[in-house]
Each structure stands twice: as C-alpha cells, then as structure tokens.
C-alpha cells in the first residue's frame, strides 16, 4: 500500500494511496477516542436523551404523563415569566462576563510581566477561591458586604456615609462574588494568549511611533483575541448556570433560570417543566459555544509569522 513501492510510471497519480493512508490514520484516531466516546455516550448522551424525552411529558396536579406534548415549550414561550427570567439570566451573565474580562485583563498583563515568583503567588491567589466551599465563600462575602459588614463599617467609621450601602441582596453582590470565583477562568486563557505574543511585535509597534495604549489596542489586544474569546465563552457559560450565589448574595431577588429549574423540580415536582427549561438553557449555551467557535476562527492569528 505504500506509495513508495509503486514505480512512478505505474502510478502517475500518487493521490489514491495517499488518501488511503489518510483514511487509515483517521480510523486509528477514531479508535483511540472510542473509549472516551462510549463513556460520554453512557454518562452524558443517554441522560441527555432522557432529559429531552422528559421535557415533552405532561404534568398536571402532581402527576406526570409521558408522551409527546408541547405544553412545556408553549408555557416557556407564553407564560411571560420564564422568558423574562431567561433574559435576566443572559443579561446577568453578560454583566458578569464584562466585569470579569475587565478585571482579568490587567491581572493577566501583570502576570505576563511578573517574575516567576510573583506569577506563582498571583496564580495561587487567583485559584484559591476555587479551593473554598461555595457556602463558606458566600458567607464570607456576606460578612464583607453586609449591612454591618466590613466595608459598610469602614465607610461609616470614616464618616463617608451615614447609612449602610446596599452592597448585597442585589445584582452588585452577585456580580462581586461570582467574578471573584470565576476570575481564574478568565485570567488563565488571556494570560496564555498574552504569553504567546512575541514582545518584539509590541516593540516594533512602539518603534513605529505607537504610544503604549495604541500598542495595546492595535497589537496586544488583537493578538490576544483567541484568549479573550475563550475567556468570554467560559465566563458566560459558567454564569448561565449560576444558582447558589444569586440565592445567597442576591437575596433571591436576582432570579436565574437555574433557580427556576430548581424550584420546578424541588418544590413543584414538575420534572417535565424543569427538563424543558434545562433544554432551553442547554440550547442557549450550545449557541454561545457555536458563536464563539466562529469568532475564534475569524480572529485566529497565524502564530508563526
């Protein structure tokens, strides 16, 4: 089968054997991912199919009737509440993503310039929230942001305010606490992208007359675009799944779709509707991933130039 065995005269077109080789290579590659594929099919594919199936069941008076009904999707579209909460979830996620990126970019840039020691410290500080239980973390934020919390006490003691500021039980509290824990998911891809930039390119821009901020806008930022897109995608997807933090630090006034899903499943035993909302959430996340893949291709930078 090797193309080398065929004399040129007999095989004027070397393409077929080459294609065959490529095909075998592909088969082998598929063979290698097969175990993981099977694992995913069993642990992810089957439950997902069940979820999808459950979303078409009918729920009435506490009793679920399996079948193909569109009740749940009709309810999503028409009850006025679910879509409003969905929009609210999207806007909250966008807000968290924007604030997260704005905080992550300077941190990533600092880490790029820092020495190995400082970089390690920064990495540890960034990742440490992930090592803490979500409850402990949120309770800690309550102690900081609360009515008689650290910040309000300081501000009142300093005479800057007379009544405590509402720092939590609203969107602000949720955004602060969530950005705190999700920051590494934004910093690490951006940092990786920044590290891949040859500093000579930025120096070249400076030597051509670009002030530091213009170097950043015209060279650093576009070259870091893949990292920014990855960070955006990660932050957004993670934020779409928020449940506990809005409950605790949003005082339940910040309502997300996962909170509605939990309520439907846990308090109403309405699993068909919970499933339908989960499908909506999942579809929106798939859409974001697809958009980011397209963007990623548009902004792809040939690394070796």
């Amino acid at each position: 089968m090797s193309p080398d065995r065929h004399p040129r005269a007999e095989a004027p077109d070397a393409a077929p054997p080459v294609r065959a080789w490529a095909r075998i290579g592909r088969l082998r590659a598929w063979g290698l991912v097969l175990p993981a594929g099977v694992l995913y099919a069993v642990t992810f594919g089957i439950p997902l199919a069940m979820l999808l199936g459950a979303s078409f069941a009918r729920f009435q008076g506490g009793v679920t009737t399996p079948g193909f009904f569109l009740d749940n999707y009709v309810k999503i579209a028409t009850d006025g509440v679910t879509l409003a909460v969905f929009r609210n979830t999207v806007s909250l996620s966008l807000l968290i993503t924007a604030v997260g990126l704005a905080c992550a970019l300077p941190v990533a840039m600092l880490m790029r310039r820092a020495g190995p020691g400082l970089r390690l410290v920064a990495m540890f500080v960034l990742v440490s929230p992930l090592l803490t239980s979500i409850i402990v973390r949120n309770v800690a934020w309550m102690l900081i942001l609360g009515r008689s919390g650290m910040i309000n006490s300081w501000l009142i003691d300093a005479g800057l305010i007379s009544a405590p500021l509402p720092l939590m039980y609203n969107r602000l509290g949720v955004v602060i606490a969530v950005v705190h824990v999700y920051l590494p998911f934004a910093v690490l891809p951006i940092y990786a992208a920044l590290r891949a930039i040859d500093p000579a390119r930025e120096r070249a821009a400076a030597s051509l007359g670009a002030a530091p901020w213009r170097v950043f806008v015209h060279v650093t930022l576009p070259l870091a675009a893949p990292g920014l897109i990855a960070a955006f995608t990660l932050l957004f997807i993670l934020s779409m799944g928020l449940y506990l933090t809005p409950v605790i630090l949003g005082g339940n006034f910040v309502v997300t779709l996962p909170m509605m899903i939990t309520d439907a499943a846990r308090n109403q035993y309405n699993w068909p509707y919970a499933s339908a909302m989960s499908v909506l959430l999942l579809a929106s996340i798939v859409a974001v991933v697809a958009v980011s893949a397209v963007l990623g291709r548009l902004f792809a930078v040939p690394r070796d130039a």
Binding site: D198, R203, S207, L208, G209, A211, V215, L223, A225
Partner: protein, 351 residues
C-alpha cells in the same frame, strides 16, 4: 552631520555592566556596524538607541535631539528585528502603513506610500497578503519597508539576517547595502558575523565586554587590528609573539620563533611585541634550498575555492597559510615547502 551620537553610555543590570562607556557618532548616510560576540553589549546598545532600554549613564542624541530619556514612540527611529516582528493580523500593506497611521497620515496617502515602500523592496503585488503567507526572505523585506516608510533619522537592524539561509543572506546583504546607498539613510547594523560586517559597512565598531575595542573602516580593522582581540575576531590570523632585534626610524627587524621579519612601526630594540600575519598573505611554494623560510606541511583543509595549510617552519612555529586552489600540485602533509612572507604582510598589533 551626525545622525546618532552616543556619549559615555553605560548600562548596568544589578552588578553586571552590559555596556561600559560607549562613545560613538554615526554620520548622516553612514552604514555603521556594531560587531562582536554574543554578550558584548551590541544589542543592548541598539536597544538603548531605540529607547527600549534606558541607559544607566551617558547621553544619546538622535537627529540632533537629546533622546536619552525619550520613550521609543517619540524617537524617529526605524527598527528591524531578528525575527522580523511583523504584525500577523495585518496585511503587508497595513504592516508597512502602521507607522504612518501612528503619525496621523491620511488613509489614501498611507496606502500610496506603503505601496511605494513595498515596491522599493520588490514586493509589489503582495500588499494584501498576510505575513503568514509569505517566505522568510519576503518577511524580512516587509520589515525593512515598514521601518523605512517612516523616514527615520536612523535605521536600526538587530541581526536581521540571522534566520535566513546562506544564499538568501548573501543576496539580502547586497540589497540592503544598495538600498541604504540609494536612499542615503543612516543605518546601525548589529551582527556577530565579521564577514557580514566587512562586506557592508562604512565603518565597524568591534565590541567586547561592553566596550568598543576598535572603530574604523572594514579595511583598517581587518588589516590593522588595534589589539589581539580584534585581530583574532576578524577572521583567521597568525599571531606570533616577537622580540625587536633592531630598530631604526619606522622600520624594525623582529624575531618570532625561528623567523626573522622586517616590519614597519616605531619600535625600540629589545621590546616584546605581537605580530599578526593574515594567512592569505603568505605565499607557499616547492621546497627550495635557497628559500628564506622552509617548513613542512602538518595539515591541509580543502575549502573549495581555497586551500588551508598548517605549516611548521624551522624553529617549531606553526603558521596558517591560505592559497587559491591551484587544482593540481596540492601539497600533502609531510611535504617540505618554502614560504614567502612579503614585505608589509607582518603587522605589529596596536601600532
């Protein structure tokens, strides 16, 4: 007129002195090369001229303006990097026009001048390609066009041909030199390759350990090295310790091993000196009883166009000799030979 002037420039990193007091003037339209081994401070010097590194002491003037503390974007300096440092997300035209854009030149004008600059480096027609789509040599030319289009006070090149293969490198040398002459641009070129330096420069500054060891024309540096370091760094040489036997005026007779040689220079009898004889200046011929210097071939290297002999002469001194390959009648190790060292070939280092 001076394009760039360095006055006592020093750069220290902690306890390490990378550049140790450099004074240098680059004339308008001059091609000056900073030559030296790695770690000699040549790149640091260039970085200081570009503004990426601030000197610890001394002053730098560019285009008649004190630029010692000026940030890079406020200096009118063009720079070409070893790995070209093109902007991969911009077309070649946008790469070249970048400096003009930063200077607020209108779009149409930018486009026109970028096109001209690309024409100068013979890349017309590739304006809309991206750096990833062209060869290394072409990228090098884009980098050059990008630096030239802003009409810099001085063009700085940091080992620009390091990543190219030999043939391309030779061609780029000629092109760069022609372009520099044609545009009359002041240029500082950093390299560790003495052949590159000799072939292109108006003047060469040989650096080692952060200092200029010799500054002069290629011919002067090659033929009349000021010190042993320069003599050794600039190609093959025979360096012989010698003693002055006899001196009168600016002529002297010196003894190096078993050789007795006439040299020029004001020397005093009895003094110890170092002699340099370039291997290509020594003639080699068949052994002849009447010859002044006789020896035996100890080794021979075939270099294509030339032959490189190692000859041990009477008294035990070993000399390198390079001659054009005659094709026939090559000497082989063991052959007795006669050497001829013409008058003027031995040079007293430092004289």
């Amino acid at each position: 007129m001076t394009a760039v002037a360095l006055d006592g420039v020093v750069k220290r990193y902690g306890g390490v002195t990378a550049v140790d007091g450099i004074d240098l003037q680059v004339g308008k339209g001059e091609f000056l090369t900073l030559l030296g081994p790695s770690g000699c401070g040549k790149s640091t010097t260039l970085q200081m001229i570009a503004g990426f590194v601030l000197p610890s002491a001394g002053r730098i003037r560019i285009g008649g303006r004190d630029s010692t503390r000026l940030p890079p974007h406020r200096r009118n300096v063009g720079m070409v990097f070893q790995n070209y440092a093109l902007f991969p997300h911009m077309t070649l035209a946008d790469n070249v026009a970048f400096g003009l854009r930063m200077r607020g030149v209108a779009k149409a004008e930018r486009r026109r001048r970028a096109g001209e600059a690309l024409a100068v480096v013979q890349l017309t027609g590739l304006a809309d390609r991206y750096p990833g789509q062209i060869s290394g040599g072409q990228q090098q030319r884009v980098a050059l066009a990008r630096a030239l289009v802003i009409q810099p006070d001085v063009l700085l090149l940091d080992e620009p041909f390091g990543a190219l293969d030999k043939q391309l490198r030779d061609r780029m040398r000629i092109e760069l030199r022609d372009l520099q002459r044609q545009l009359g641009i002041s240029l500082i070129f950093v390299t560790h390759d003495q052949e590159e330096a000799l072939s292109m420069s108006d003047r060469i500054a040989v650096l080692s350990e952060g200092r200029i060891r010799q500054l002069g024309t290629p011919d002067g540096i090659y033929r009349r090295p000021a010190n042993r370091f320069v003599a050794e760094f600039m190609g093959h040489s025979n360096i012989l310790p010698a003693r002055v036997v006899e001196a009168s005026g600016d002529r002297a007779l010196v003894r190096a091993g078993g050789l007795l040689l006439a040299v020029s220079g004001r020397l005093s009898a009895g003094g110890d000196i170092e002699l340099m004889i370039r291997p290509e200046r020594i003639g080699i011929g068949p052994a002849d009883a009447g010859a002044a210097i006789r020896g035996r071939v100890a080794g021979m290297q075939y270099l294509g166009a030339s032959l490189h002999y190692r000859v041990v002469v009477e008294g035990g001194t070993e000399l390198s000799v390079v001659t054009p390959d005659p094709g026939e009648g090559r000497r082989v190790p063991g052959d007795p030979v006669a050497l001829a060292i013409p008058d003027g070939a031995p040079f007293v280092i430092g004289s």
